[in-house]
């Protein structure tokens, strides 16, 4: 795979990984949002439920207390009705009426402070509260004038009684003739309800836990009772809700809401309102105390949502915990994913490295194998050519031998053999012999089974000797001169095996002669830097580029044994020298060089 493709692939893999991690994060975030919303919803549902419960509780309480009040007030009213219809009252018999009043008062002592009898003229006829005020003219009071006017029972607003206490009154008109009420007004029976008793009554009827959250107002808006910490101060009792004393303690942001709600409740409505102030919510349930169609007052029960706050906190806890746990899980997953990817990538890289190593090893093994195959091929080639070179002259000798065998059948002392045939035998036998020697030499060289007998040899002398022995080999058709240029100054002595040295020089010289049809073969000897240099230069055909590379290999030459140069190279290199060849710069022929260490 190309480097470009590889980096592109790894880039794609990287972006895939990043995409996966982003997906995990996104899923985590979505899950946390969903869980958050869900628990939000649960929490708000719980909140709502508990708030509704609180509201319901408050409503029940206010309703209950209102009922209690209404019941009690109903008892007072029926007492007054009974008294108003009693004979003693109709007869204006005060002393005989006393027990009636006393027992009435006794029966409603938890609310009433006094029962009183006001005569037709508005003068106080009797009270259970003592003789002091009897005879007073109280015709101005609403408790007298209103029932006289409406001919109906009257529930008053808060009035201030003479000794400073505040009270409500319930008054019942007396009629001499119930069927003609308009013309038979005969006075009023009144029950007085001090507001202190109202408060106490309320407290006694309130469930524990609600002791601090009760309010009582008369139908005119006067605060009669409050268990609230800020208004239980007596300075607010008896004051108008809409008056500046009370209004000033109501927080401004809920003032309008508050006043509206108060007005609604004074209208005789029942219900509840939620006030939120400083993060806290309070439900106020209100109920009018109704006696028939008349309203006596209004009960308020306020329930702060403290409990619900706790509930919400509890509900929110899991929300937070869920959120955190989801985030943690998400982060852990991301971490695991990152670890996995890193690990994966490391493994991948490891595998890639190993694969690359394996591939390299594989390639080098292949190379080695190819090399071995090539070597084997070369070996076969060598055997093939050696066989050919040997069997060719052998063929001639065999045929000659066959001819001789034929002649031998004649059984004469001498046999006739034509000159041609004799020459063939001689020529080819020499050829076989030379080749066998060369082959053996090559075999010894290849298996390093060689013993060099080095001695000091005069190079110039040796060369001269070779020239003398080779010169006759120059063919008649060749116009070749052999010239020797020895170095003029002194003798050149080398350490060499004399036979081997002879072999090399004669090989090179024979080659030069073989490849030069006409011209000069020049042999130069020189010395430089501790080495002797021999150059054999011819003017022959030169070295063709195809064989230049393998010139000193086995069986390259097409003439002779083809092993001469190979053997020469091995011999020179065994002596620590170098051998090479170049085509001549003037284009005519080639020069063969070799070096040997000087003594």
């Amino acid at each position: 795979m190309s480097d470009e493709k590889k980096s592109k692939l790894s880039q794609i893999n990287l972006s895939k990984e990043i995409l996966l991690i982003i997906t995990i994060l996104a899923v985590t975030i979505i899950l946390s949002i969903i869980t958050y919303q869900y628990s939000n919803t649960s929490a708000s549902q719980i909140l709502e439920l508990s708030e509704n419960e609180i509201r319901a509780e408050a409503k029940i309480q206010s309703h209950h207390i209102a009922n209690e009040f209404a019941t009690k007030v109903g008892v007072i009213t029926s007492n007054l009705e009974i008294i108003s219809h009693s004979k003693t009252i109709l007869n204006k018999d005060v002393p005989d009426s006393v027990p009636l009043f006393n027992s009435a008062q006794k029966s409603t002592a938890d609310l009433t402070g006094v029962y009183a009898w006001i005569g037709k003229d508005g003068k106080l006829l009797w009270t259970t509260a003592g003789m002091k005020n009897i005879g007073t003219d109280v015709s101005n009071g609403d408790y007298y004038s209103k029932p006289k006017q409406t001919l109906m029972p009257y529930y008053s607003n808060t009035i201030e009684v003479k000794n400073g206490t505040l009270a409500l009154t319930i008054s019942y008109p007396i009629f001499t003739n119930d069927s003609d009420k308009a013309n038979s007004f005969n006075g009023v029976i009144v029950a007085g309800v001090p507001i202190s008793k109202l408060g106490q009554f309320a407290k006694d009827n309130l469930a524990p836990g609600y002791e601090n959250s009760l309010g009582l107002m008369d139908k005119g808006g006067i605060l009669l009772y409050s268990s609230n910490s800020t208004t239980s101060n007596t300075k607010f009792i008896g004051k108008n809700i809409f008056g500046k004393e009370i209004q000033s303690v109501i927080p401004s942001d809920i003032k309008d809401q508050f006043n509206t709600f108060v007005r609604n409740s004074l209208n005789g409505q029942t219900g509840y309102v939620d006030f939120s102030y400083m993060g806290k919510t309070t439900t106020i349930a209100y109920d009018p105390i109704k006696i028939g169609n008349d309203s006596f007052g209004v009960i308020y029960v306020s329930a702060p949502h403290d409990f619900t706050l706790n509930a919400v906190a509890l509900a929110e806890q899991p929300r937070l915990v869920n959120l955190i746990s989801i985030v943690i899980v998400g982060l852990i997953t991301v971490l695991i994913a990152v670890i996995l990817f890193t690990w994966n990538n490391r493994l991948k890289k490891l595998v890639e490295d190993r694969t690359r190593d394996l591939k390299l090893t594989n390639d080098s093994l292949k190379e080695a194998n190819d090399h071995l195959i090539a070597l084997e091929k070369m070996e076969r080639e060598f055997i093939n050519i050696a066989a050919h070179e040997l069997k060719t002259p052998v063929q001639s000798v065999v045929l000659m031998s066959e001819e001789i065998e034929e002649n031998l059948k004649k059984e004469s002392e001498k046999i006739n053999l034509s000159r041609d045939y004799a020459e063939i035998i001689v020529r080819n036998t020499k050829r076989i012999s030379g080749l066998i020697n060369s082959l053996l030499m090559v075999s010894k060289l290849e298996h390093r089974k060689f013993q060099l007998n080095e001695e000091k040899i005069n190079l110039q002398e040796k060369i001269l000797k070779v020239i003398e022995e080779i010169r006759p080999l120059v063919g008649k058709e060749q116009d070749v001169k052999i010239v020797f240029n020895p170095q003029s100054t002194g003798n050149i002595l080398v350490n060499a095996d004399k036979n081997m040295l002879y072999e090399v020089i004669s090989n090179l010289l024979v080659n030069a002669i073989k490849f030069t049809k006409h011209g000069i073969i020049e042999i130069n000897v020189s010395s430089k830097d501790g080495y002797a240099l021999v150059a054999i230069r011819d003017t022959g055909v030169g070295i063709s580029p195809e064989i230049a590379g393998t010139l000193f290999g086995k069986f390259i030459s097409t003439q002779g044994t083809g092993l001469g140069l190979f053997i020469s190279k091995n011999i020179i290199e065994m002596h620590g020298g170098k051998i090479w060849a170049e085509n001549n710069s003037d284009g005519k022929g080639a020069t063969f060089f070799f070096t040997l260490q000087l003594v």
Partner: protein
Amino acid sequence: MTIFLTYGYILKDLNLSWLTKILFVDDEHDILKAISRGLTSKGIDVDTYDNPIDALKNFRPKTYDLILLDVKLPQMSGFELYEKIKEIDFEAKIYFLSAFEFLEVPNNIVPNLGGTNFLRKPITIKQLVELISSNISNNAR
């Protein structure tokens, strides 16, 4: 024997020869000479060439009972010469005579020859005569 030979020669000159005639191509002069004289002394006529070009130049179809080719020749291989001869005379009987130990034969030749038409050097005149005779008996010129 000599009279027989002479008669054969005369007939050959008159182009009515019924003597066995073979063609032999090899670049080794000594071998050419030895085989030529050896076969001739057994009454077999031999045309010898030391290069393929001359051999092809003078080749006429239906002239030879047997053709003997060396593989290693100058200017073209024995196999190429074989193909060229076959182009001229498809029915020609051709044998290879080689001194090589391992011989790689081109694929297009093997099916034709079936491997039996290869002879290894060194060969004797006796063996050649036997080969030629066995070919004559199943051959009409």
